[in-house]
Structures are given as structure tokens and as C-alpha cells.
């Protein structure tokens, strides 16, 4: 699994390096450029958060592309590894990229804290944190982001395995429909069983408007049965993806 990950990283090294440089340039532009054109601190914080979200989406696309390339590649599929290793490598890849993104965001937050911008944001209501979880705040945010990413990635990997098993055109559209369907079913189940806990992708974060965002632990699923539910669903997604890779996915 780790060896597969090593070759995933080697294959994507230039894209990842380019992505990281682009993220840093975007953040610098927002921070420095925002001050030049007198955007409020609240606005700069929301823009930075949106930039992280955008790169989070790119991260998911990178993981999906890497997974798709691996399960279709004749060279990779000839190695004596079970299909679970391809799924595991993709999940580790997602975890690693999310951790790097979080690390950059963490440094950004440290800068905000040390320069007093964070306090200013809290006082002005630009950033509201309602944290009632048993987990300490910084650790809790890391866990919420990493788990939410992993959960979403298991669903996307299953969808990739389904689309790569199909032999007709329009597979991308079908994949999109499956993502919407699965997301809706999961949200409905969470609403029905747990009263709306963890109904979004990153359920704790909300951007209220262009200068206000909130983080509320009660909407995330890191505590209680919501997490167990997601764990079971993720295991089912992985099982189904492995079966499809074994039996149906077309190898080039």
C-alpha cells in the first residue's frame, strides 16, 4: 500500500509541487493584495477560507485521478497486491494531501493568532467558533477535516470504480448522478436517524456571507452514533469498490 502510494506521489510530484506553489501564491495575493485594495480583515479571512476549500476540491480531483489511473493501469494491476491496496493507497494519498493543506492552514492560523488578527476577527463576529465537543478545538478541527475528507473520498472511490466498470459513453455523467444520489441518501439517513448531525461534507464549517463564517461542533459527526454510522457506510463503500476492482474494472 505504501509502495503504491510512493509511486502515486512520484507520478504526481510536479502537479503537487505546482499546486502547493499556486496555493501559497493565492494566499499571499489575498493577504497582501487585499490590504492594498482595503478589503476588510473579515473579507480576507473568508477569501482565504474559500481558497483552502477550492484547493481541497482540487485535492479530491487529484486523488480520484490517481486512483483511476492505478486501477486501470496494466503495470499496477500486475503486481501481487489485493484490490484493497489500491483503495488503501488512495485513502492514504487523500489523508496525506489533506494533512499538508491543514498544516499550511494551521501555520496561517498561527500567523493570525500571533498578529492579533484572530482576536480581531472573533471580536468583530467575522469568525464564530461554537465548540462543545469533548475533543480540544485544534485537534477537533483536524479530526473533523480529515475524517470528512476520508469519508467523502471512500464515496468518490466507489463512484470511480463504478464508472470504470461501465463499457459505454457518458460515464462521467453517470458518476455525477451517483455522487448526488449517494450524498442525498446519506444526508437523508443522517437526518432521519441522528436529527441532522453531520449532514454536509465538512459539516462544522459554514460561510454565512462574504465576511462571516462559523464553525459549530454540534453539526459535525465526530462524536457519537453519527461517526459510527459514517464508519459503517465508509466500510461498505470500500467493500463495494474492492469487489468492482476485482471483477469489473476494465484494465487498459
Amino acid at each position: 500500500m505504501l509502495t503504491l502510494l510512493k509511486y502515486d506521489l512520484k507520478r504526481d510530484q510536479f502537479m503537487l509541487l505546482g499546486g502547493m506553489i499556486a496555493l501559497l501564491l493565492a494566499l499571499l495575493t489575498i493577504e497582501l493584495g487585499g490590504r492594498q485594495i482595503n478589503i476588510e480583515t473579515n473579507g480576507i479571512a473568508v477569501l482565504s477560507f474559500m481558497t483552502y476549500s477550492f484547493f481541497g476540491i482540487l485535492l479530491l480531483i487529484a486523488v480520484c485521478n490517481s486512483f483511476r489511473a492505478s486501477i486501470r493501469s496494466v503495470g499496477r494491476r500486475l503486481v501481487p497486491l489485493g484490490s484493497i491496496h489500491y483503495v488503501g493507497a488512495a485513502l492514504l494519498y487523500a489523508l496525506l494531501l489533506s494533512a499538508v493543506l491543514l498544516a499550511i492552514a494551521g501555520l496561517h492560523l498561527l500567523y493570525y493568532k500571533s498578529s492579533g488578527i484572530l482576536r480581531e476577527l472573533e471580536q468583530s463576529g467575522g469568525v464564530t467558533v461554537n465548540w462543545n465537543s469533548s475533543l480540544p478545538l485544534p485537534f477537533g478541527i483536524v479530526v473533523v477535516v480529515l475524517w470528512s475528507t476520508l469519508f467523502l473520498v471512500t464515496m468518490l472511490l466507489l463512484v470511480m470504480a463504478v464508472t470504470e466498470s461501465l463499457k459505454f459513453k457518458g460515464r462521467s455523467l453517470i458518476g455525477l448522478v451517483i455522487v448526488v444520489l449517494l450524498s442525498s441518501v446519506i444526508s437523508w439517513a443522517k437526518n432521519a436517524f441522528f436529527g441532522g448531525v453531520g449532514v454536509g461534507t465538512l459539516p462544522g464549517f459554514h460561510i454565512e456571507n462574504q465576511s462571516q463564517m462559523t464553525m459549530q461542533s454540534q453539526y459535525s459527526s465526530i462524536d457519537g452514533f453519527g461517526f459510527v454510522f459514517e464508519l459503517v457506510v465508509a466500510a461498505l463503500f470500500i467493500w463495494a469498490a474492492v469487489k468492482l476492482i476485482d471483477r469489473k474494472v476494465r484494465i487498459e
Partner: protein
């Protein structure tokens, strides 16, 4: 095949066994009820025209495709993780990734296969006139075939499956590839080589399997075939596939 040959075959553990294997792609039958076995220490030619089912047979043996019916065994294992560790398959298209250099493609084999032999790999690189620093996707077709063969034969596998190793390369490169096959083949292993370019390669075969429209139409020792028919394998091939 004679009765004594059958008994001998049963006594020796077979490296590869197909029993009534069939495979369809959509409505097209790629393999029809194919049964065969390959013992150790053999170089077997898998002969057939384009689209006859050679690649499908090899991909099923390599564990890349699943048969619709029938059973496949590689040293007693069903195709999967264990069989992949025993088989070295050279597909008919590049198995290395576009971003890799020759060295990285070899490192990939080394990292995943316990039977990878670094000394053999080094000797093969010299023999094939390949350099570790060359970008694999920038190599010419002939040099890519050499790299593919280097990747496959750098392992000390029980069974080598080579799908069209000389297809699409010029006669000089073809000669070089055939020399490499003979030079680096492990004598206690077996090798199945699929091709429709018989004349160049028939000298190295112990046995040939002819496949036509997904069915195995002939299986015989090359020497016996030549003695019985008074013809070369190439001539016989042209007769069998005359209307294809």
C-alpha cells in the same frame, strides 16, 4: 497427444492449466472452451492471427481478466495475488508509466516483485543497450519492446507470458529480442510467447498452440509437427489460417 505423454504430464506439476475456459466480450466470443496445460522447462508458441484470442488467453492467465466459465490454475493457484507473484507477463502495450525513466520502471518491478534479480536486470540493460536515465515514453517502438522484455525477464518467475514481443519492430531489433529470450530465459521456468510472426521465432519453440476464433485447434511438439507434416511451423500456420 499420446497416452504416455498424458501420463507424464499428469506426473509433473503443471505451471499453467486451463480447463474449459470461455470468455466473451459483449456478443463476441474471445475464447471458446479452451483447455490446455503447460509444464516446466518449456518454450511454447501461442500462434494465431489477429483477434484469434491469444491476448485474451494471456490476460486471463496473468489475472488481468476473468473467464466467464471454466477454471484457470497457476501452480495450483487461482489467478490472483499468489499467481501474479509467479507469473511475469509482458503485455502487448507499455506496462511502464509515461512519467517513468527506464531506471524507475525497473525500480517499480524491484519494489513489487520478490523474484526481481538486480544482476540479471543490469545484464539485460547492457544487452538491450538501454540506459537507466532514458525516459521510457520517449524511446522508439523497438527500444520500448526491449524495455518491456527487460522488465519481464529481470524477474526469476515460474512462468513468463510474452504477448507479441516482436510485433511491430524491425528485423534487426527482432533478432536482438529473440537472442535476449534465449539468453535470459530461466531453464526451469516456462515461457509462452504469443505471435503471428512465426518464421523468425519458431526456432526457439518446444511446442506450439494454435488458436483460431477463440478455439484451440492444434497443440503439438514442434519437432513432431515438422516430422509428421514435413513442413515448417510457419508453413503450417499459413495453411491453418489461410482463410483468415
Amino acid at each position: 497427444m499420446t497416452g504416455s505423454a498424458n501420463r507424464e504430464e499428469a506426473e509433473v506439476e503443471q505451471l499453467l492449466e486451463f480447463e474449459a475456459v470461455s470468455k466473451k466480450y459483449g456478443n463476441k466470443a474471445a475464447l471458446r472452451d479452451v483447455s490446455l496445460s503447460v509444464g516446466p522447462g518449456r518454450i511454447v508458441g501461442l500462434l494465431g492471427s489477429n483477434g484469434s484470442g491469444k491476448t485474451t488467453l494471456m490476460r486471463i492467465a496473468a489475472g488481468l481478466d476473468r473467464p466467464d466459465s471454466g477454471t484457470v490454475r497457476v501452480l495450483g493457484h487461482e489467478p490472483g495475488r499468489a499467481s501474479k507473484a509467479l507469473i511475469s507477463f509482458m503485455p502487448d502495450r507499455p506496462q511502464f508509466e509515461r512519467w517513468m525513466t527506464v531506471g524507475e520502471a525497473l525500480d517499480f518491478q524491484r519494489d513489487f516483485f520478490a523474484d526481481f534479480d538486480p544482476d540479471k536486470s543490469k545484464r539485460m540493460l547492457e544487452f538491450m543497450k538501454l540506459s537507466r536515465g532514458d525516459k521510457a515514453s520517449s524511446l522508439s517502438k523497438g527500444m520500448q519492446e526491449r524495455l518491456q522484455l527487460t522488465l519481464a525477464l529481470s524477474r526469476r518467475a515460474s512462468l513468463y507470458l510474452l504477448d507479441e514481443p516482436i510485433g511491430g519492430v524491425d528485423p534487426v531489433a527482432r533478432g536482438h529480442i529473440l537472442d535476449a529470450l534465449v539468453e535470459f530465459y530461466e531453464e526451469d521456468s516456462s515461457m509462452i510467447v504469443s505471435t503471428h510472426l512465426i518464421a523468425d521465432i519458431e526456432r526457439i519453440f518446444d511446442e506450439v498452440l494454435m488458436i483460431k476464433e477463440g478455439s484451440l485447434v492444434l497443440r503439438q511438439e514442434v519437432e513432431q509437427l515438422r516430422m509428421d507434416s514435413g513442413k515448417s511451423v510457419d508453413q503450417l500456420f499459413k495453411e491453418v489460417y489461410a482463410e483468415c
